[in-house]
C-alpha cells in the first residue's frame, strides 16, 4: 500500500516535471543561446547547452546600435515603468476607495463606465489620442506614455476594489464614530490595509509597462528614447540582424527585471491575480 502510494507520487512528479520542462524549454533555449555563436545556434539547434559559455555576446549586444548602448534603453524602460506604475497605482487606490466605500449619486453609472473601459480595445482611442498628444507637442517625449497613468487604470481600480471589499466595514464605522472623515479613513485605515493589493498592482503594472510595445512604437521616434522592447525589435530586425547570439543575450537580459520581481514578490502577485478572478 505504501509502495503504491510512493509510486503514484513519483509518477505524479515525473509528469509534472516533464511538462514543466516543456514549458520552460523555450526560455532555457533562449538563455543558453545567448552564449552561443551564430553557427552553433543554427547547426546545433537541438542541443540546449552551449559548447562553451561565451560571454562575448553580452558585450557585443550591450553596445546596442548606432552608438546607443543598451544602458540607455534600460534606463528608459525603468523610467517609463517606475513612474507610470507609481501614477497608476496611487491614483487607482484613490478611485477604488471612492467606488467601494462611498455612496454617491451616479455611482452605479460611473462604475459601469469604468468596467466598460476595462473591456475597451486600445485601438479605439489610439488614433485620436495620438492626434491630441501631437497637438500638445508631446510626441517624442515620455508624456503620452506617463501622464494618462496618473488618472487611474480600470483594471487596478477593479483589483483594489475587490480587495477593499474584503476589509470589514466595521473598521470604517468604528473610525467614523471616533470622528474620522472619509478622507482620513482612507489615509489612516484603508491605505495601510490594502498594501498587498497595491503591491500586486505595482508588480503587474511594472511588468506590463516593461513589455509595452505599441505605445512606444507610436510615440517615440528617437533611438535615445527607446525602451528595451522597442530597441530589441530594432536590434532584431530581420533585415539587419546578423548576430543572433548577441540578440538573444539582450533578449535574455530584457526579461530579467520581470523575472526578479516575480521571484521576490511571487506571493503577492499570485494572491492578487486570484483575488481579481475569484470574486469577479
Amino acid at each position: 500500500m505504501k509502495d503504491r502510494k510512493k509510486i503514484k507520487s513519483i509518477l505524479y512528479h515525473l509528469i509534472v516535471i516533464t511538462f514543466s520542462y516543456v514549458m520552460i524549454y523555450p526560455l532555457l533555449w533562449m538563455f543558453f543561446s545567448s552564449f552561443k555563436d551564430n553557427s552553433e545556434i543554427f547547426r546545433y539547434a537541438h542541443i540546449l547547452l552551449p559548447q562553451r559559455f561565451n560571454f562575448e555576446n553580452f558585450l557585443i549586444g550591450w553596445r546596442g546600435f548606432g552608438g546607443i548602448s543598451f544602458s540607455v534603453f534600460f534606463r528608459n524602460s525603468f523610467i517609463l515603468s517606475i513612474i507610470g506604475t507609481l501614477g497608476a497605482v496611487l491614483s487607482s487606490a484613490l478611485v477604488a476607495y471612492g467606488f467601494s466605500r462611498n455612496k454617491f449619486k451616479g455611482k452605479k453609472i460611473w462604475f459601469g463606465f469604468m468596467i466598460a473601459t476595462m473591456l475597451l480595445p486600445y485601438q479605439v482611442v489610439m488614433i485620436p489620442q495620438y492626434i491630441m498628444f501631437n497637438r500638445f507637442g508631446w510626441v517624442n517625449t515620455f508624456k503620452p506614455l506617463l501622464v494618462p497613468s496618473f488618472f487611474g487604470q480600470p483594471f487596478f481600480i477593479f483589483l483594489i476594489i475587490q480587495f477593499i471589499r474584503g476589509i470589514p466595514i466595521e473598521l470604517d464605522e468604528a473610525a467614523k464614530i471616533d470622528g474620522c472623515s472619509k478622507y482620513s479613513i482612507f489615509f489612516k485605515i484603508i491605505l495601510p490595509l490594502i498594501t498587498p493589493a497595491l503591491i500586486t498592482a505595482t508588480i503587474l503594472s511594472f511588468l506590463w509597462r516593461w513589455d509595452d510595445f505599441l505605445g512606444p512604437l507610436i510615440y517615440l521616434n528617437r533611438p535615445t528614447l527607446y525602451p528595451v522592447s522597442l530597441a530589441l525589435r530594432m536590434f532584431a530586425d530581420p533585415s539587419a540582424i546578423s548576430n543572433w547570439g548577441a540578440m538573444f543575450s539582450m533578449a535574455t537580459l530584457s526579461i530579467i527585471p520581470g523575472l526578479l520581481i516575480f521571484i521576490f514578490f511571487q506571493r503577492y502577485l499570485i494572491e492578487g491575480i486570484i483575488a481579481t478572478g475569484i470574486k469577479g
Binding site: 548606432g66 552608438g67 495620438y130 501631437n134 528617437r222 533611438p223 530581420p238 533585415s239 539587419a240 546578423s242
Partner: protein, 424 residues
C-alpha cells in the same frame, strides 16, 4: 594686492574666453534632425560622417533617428502627420512622389541656384531623378541596379557557364536552374520576394512597357499576359524544386540569413549595393551578372536612396549644406565607401576606385555593365507605389503557394492595382 592681481587675471581670462567663445560661436548653434534606415554598417558609417561634419562645423549638431527598413516608413508617416519630420530624411524612390505630393518636402532648387548643393559632377539624370512634376525635391545618394549574384562553382559543377555579361535568356534561366538543382541540389532563390513588383517591372521593361503609366493613375500595361508569364516561370521552378518553396520568404529575413549564404542556394536576386554584405556573409567567391535578357533592356540605373529636406524644417539651408557635403565631399565618402550605392559624383567615384576593396569593385564594374544595358530613364513611382508593392507581394505569394493560377493572379493584380492607382 595679490588678490587684485588674481582678479585682473581672471577678468582678462574671462573676457578672452567670451571673445573666443564668440568667435567659435559666430554661427548660430543649431541642431539638425536626420533620419535614415539601414543595417548596422550603415548606421556606423553614417554616424562617423556626422561626427566629421560636426568637427568641421562645430555649430551644427545632429540628432539622429535611425532604424531598420521595416519600421521606418510607419514612423515617418506618423511623424509626417505630426508635422514633426526630421530636417533631413533618407527616402526611397518609391516614396518620393508620395511625400512630395503631400507637400511634406522642401524644394531644393533655391539651394542649387545659390550653389549650396552642387550637381556639377553628376550626370543630368541624377538630378532629374530627384524631381517630381518638374520640381527638384531630392538629392540622390548613390546608384544601384537589379542584379543576380551566383555561385560560379556550383554552375561549374553542373557544367554550365554563365556569361558575365548575362547573355542568357529566360529559357536559359529556367534550364540552368533545373540542371544545377539536379546536379548539386542547390536552388535558385526566388526574386525580391519582399518586393516582387521589381521582377514584374523588369519583365515589362524588357517588353517595352512600364509598371505604371506616365501619369501614375493606372498600371502601364493592359495585357495580363506579361504578369502571367513571369509568374509561370517562377511557379514552374518552385514546382520542380529548383526554386525554394515560397514559405521560405514568408518572413522577411536578412541577407545573412538567405539560403545562398547558408549554402543551400546558388543564385540570388538583389540590388547591386547589397552585394558587399552578401559576399562577406557567404564567405565564398560569388559573381555578379545581368538578369536574363529580353527584347529590350529591362534594367535601369536606380537612385538607391535620396536625402530630402522636410518642409517644416527651420534650418533648410544648413540641411542643404550638409547634404552637399554628404554627396560631394571625398573624405565623407571615404568613410561611407559606397554603402548606399555607387556615388553619383564622378570625382568621388574616381577617388574611391583606388581604395575600395575587391568586392566593392565588383559592384562598380557591374554598374558599368548595367549602364550599358539599361533603359535611359528611371521609371516613375507614383504616390500609391507602396500599396502596389504590397499587392504584388500578396499576388506572388498566392500564386507561388499554389492558391490561384498565374492567369487568375495576373488578372486580380490588374484589377486591384488599377483600382488602387485610380484612388478608389
Amino acid at each position: 594686492m595679490k588678490k587684485y592681481k588674481t582678479y585682473s587675471i581672471l577678468c582678462v581670462l574671462f573676457v578672452l574666453f567670451l571673445l573666443l567663445g564668440n568667435i567659435g560661436l559666430s554661427a548660430e548653434p543649431i541642431t539638425l534632425r536626420i533620419s535614415w534606415w539601414g543595417s548596422q554598417t550603415r548606421h556606423d558609417r553614417t554616424l562617423k560622417v556626422l561626427e566629421l561634419y560636426n568637427k568641421l562645423n562645430p555649430n551644427v549638431k545632429f540628432e539622429t533617428e535611425f532604424g531598420a527598413f521595416s519600421g521606418y516608413w510607419d514612423k515617418l508617416a506618423v511623424q509626417a502627420a505630426a508635422k514633426n519630420l526630421p530636417d533631413i530624411i533618407q527616402i526611397g524612390y518609391g516614396y518620393l512622389e508620395e511625400y512630395a505630393g503631400r507637400g511634406l518636402l522642401a524644394e531644393i532648387t533655391p539651394f542649387v541656384d545659390k550653389g549650396i548643393i552642387s550637381f556639377k559632377d553628376a550626370s543630368p539624370a541624377i538630378k532629374e531623378a530627384g524631381m517630381v512634376e518638374g520640381k527638384l525635391y531630392a538629392v540622390c545618394l548613390g546608384m544601384n541596379a537589379w542584379a543576380i549574384a551566383y555561385d560560379p562553382l556550383a554552375a561549374e559543377k553542373a557544367g554550365i557557364s554563365i556569361s558575365k555579361t548575362g547573355l542568357w535568356t529566360w529559357n536559359d534561366y529556367r534550364r540552368f536552374a533545373k540542371k544545377i538543382y539536379e546536379a548539386t541540389g542547390l536552388k535558385a532563390e526566388l526574386p525580391f520576394m519582399d518586393e516582387p513588383t521589381n521582377i514584374l517591372a523588369y519583365y515589362l521593361q524588357q517588353n517595352g512597357l512600364n509598371l505604371y503609366n506616365s501619369t501614375g493613375t493606372g498600371l502601364g500595361f493592359s495585357d495580363p499576359k506579361y504578369m502571367q508569364e513571369i509568374l509561370e516561370i517562377f511557379l514552374d521552378l518552385v514546382k520542380s524544386g529548383a526554386a525554394p518553396h515560397p514559405s521560405e520568404y514568408a518572413v522577411t529575413r536578412s541577407l545573412e540569413d538567405s539560403l545562398l549564404v547558408k549554402g543551400k542556394a546558388w543564385l540570388y536576386w538583389l540590388w547591386s549595393n547589397q552585394f558587399v554584405a552578401l559576399a562577406q556573409a557567404a564567405k565564398r567567391p560569388l559573381s555578379l551578372t545581368l538578369p536574363p535578357r529580353g527584347k529590350n533592356p529591362g534594367l535601369f540605373l536606380n537612385p538607391s536612396q535620396f536625402f530630402v529636406i522636410s518642409a517644416n524644417s527651420k534650418y533648410k539651408e544648413e540641411a542643404a549644406k550638409f547634404i552637399n557635403f554628404f554627396v560631394n565631399n571625398i573624405d565623407a565618402n571615404k568613410i561611407l565607401l559606397a554603402e548606399r550605392g555607387v556615388p553619383t559624383s564622378s570625382k568621388v567615384r574616381k577617388a574611391l576606385k583606388d581604395i575600395v576593396d575587391p568586392i566593392v569593385k565588383q559592384t562598380f564594374d557591374y554598374m558599368d555593365l548595367a549602364a550599358r544595358n539599361s533603359i535611359p530613364t528611371v521609371p516613375r513611382q507614383p504616390a500609391k507605389a507602396s500599396e502596389i508593392k504590397k499587392l504584388g507581394q500578396e499576388i506572388f505569394q498566392k500564386v507561388l503557394y499554389g492558391e490561384i493560377s498565374p492567369a487568375d493572379g495576373a488578372k486580380e493584380f490588374m484589377k486591384r492595382g488599377n483600382e488602387i492607382l485610380q484612388g478608389k
